[in-house]
Amino acid sequence: MAAPLALRRDFFSLARILGGISQLGPRGLSACSSHRKCSQTPFHFLQTSSPFFHTATYLSSTPLAITVTDEPDTLFQKVLVLVKAHDRAVLDSYEFFATMAAKELGITMGKVSEPPKDIERLTLLKSVHIYKKHRVQYEMRTHYRCIELLHITGCTAQVYLEYIQRNLPEGVAMEVTKTAMEKIPDHILEPIWKDHPIDDKSSK
């Protein structure tokens, strides 16, 4: 139990640093990261409802409250972060940033793989009217990068993912897949035939 509390204290200091960096609301994250997530973890930390829109100065808003609960923290066997972009160089630098951040926070990293790129091609007519034989081809390339984090707790995952997502470059989308570990329910720990010995078969 001490470990999640310690993590939450670390999270508070990290969030204070993050609060000094940018003053964006949490709803800003959803437009950049993808809609598909296995578990929807809401990042409602900075609940600032400011009437003005443009952020000229970077000031930290209300200080974050530490929530200390007794319930056990969720454990994730694997957290897969898939980043998509049009530019491979941007993904290279983002991967360097994410791996460095994970190393500094002490998170065990799995493999960092690069799935093959997807090219979507369109063939359109070059001219406004007739000339069917002359066409123009456009293509849209999507490059991927997959970062795996192994054996991570819920609080650490929350902090790390929020840090990663706040520093996501423009034009880069992220999909997070979390594989959680749950305790086996008690009623299936022991096989049923041990408690109820089979004696009705002899009657049949």
Binding site: L24, L168, E170
Partner: protein
């Protein structure tokens, strides 16, 4: 001799006309001669001229150099695979470019770059120092508040000013 020459010449003319892609009704009428379309690309290209026209880096490179020597002017995630909303972003971009061109009339040194970071719209532009700074600040604040009220998201303008346009080459 002369007659035969002229007849052979006219025969060659007729065969040449017959080889062209348009047909003609009778030999007396003038026919329409159409060649295949000259398939040179003309998109986003400034043709070579006398050598007195200054071009910026953006204008000098052709569109097939995008992702090679050129970057993107509008950066958002809706053109990636599996992400929707490309048409809405494009319409917003067109409006923002026209708005910037009109608000800072004659001051734009290069194309406007539009970035979307989360909910925020960042509009980056290079300006010439044609107006006094107070007018610039007023126009920046005015466009920021107007665009943010229009698009219901925080809009930030990143303006850099230059003395003259940055010339890459002359064509």
């Amino acid at each position: 001799m002369a007659a035969s020459l002229s007849s052979s010449g006219s025969a060659r003319l007729m065969t040449a006309l017959a080889r062209s892609s348009m047909l003609h009704n009778s030999f007396e009428s003038r026919s329409l001669h159409v060649t295949a379309v000259c398939c040179k690309n003309r998109a986003a290209r400034i043709r070579i001229g006398k050598g007195d026209r200054p071009l910026t880096y953006e204008q000098a490179h052709h569109p097939h150099q995008i992702a090679h020597r050129k970057g993107w002017l509008s950066q958002h995630t809706s053109n990636l695979k599996g992400v929707e909303g490309a048409a809405e972003r494009t319409v917003e971009d067109v409006f923002i470019r026209r708005f910037m061109f009109g608000t800072f009339h004659g001051c734009l040194a290069n194309e406007v770059v539009i970035k979307r970071r989360g909910n925020m719209l960042v509009v980056c532009a290079l300006m010439l120092q044609k107006l006094p700074p107070q007018k610039f600040y007023f126009l920046i604040g005015y466009s920021e508040s107007l665009l943010s009220h229009f698009y219901k998201c925080p809009v930030k303008l990143d303006i850099q000013t230059l003395q003259d346009k940055a010339v890459y080459k002359y064509l």
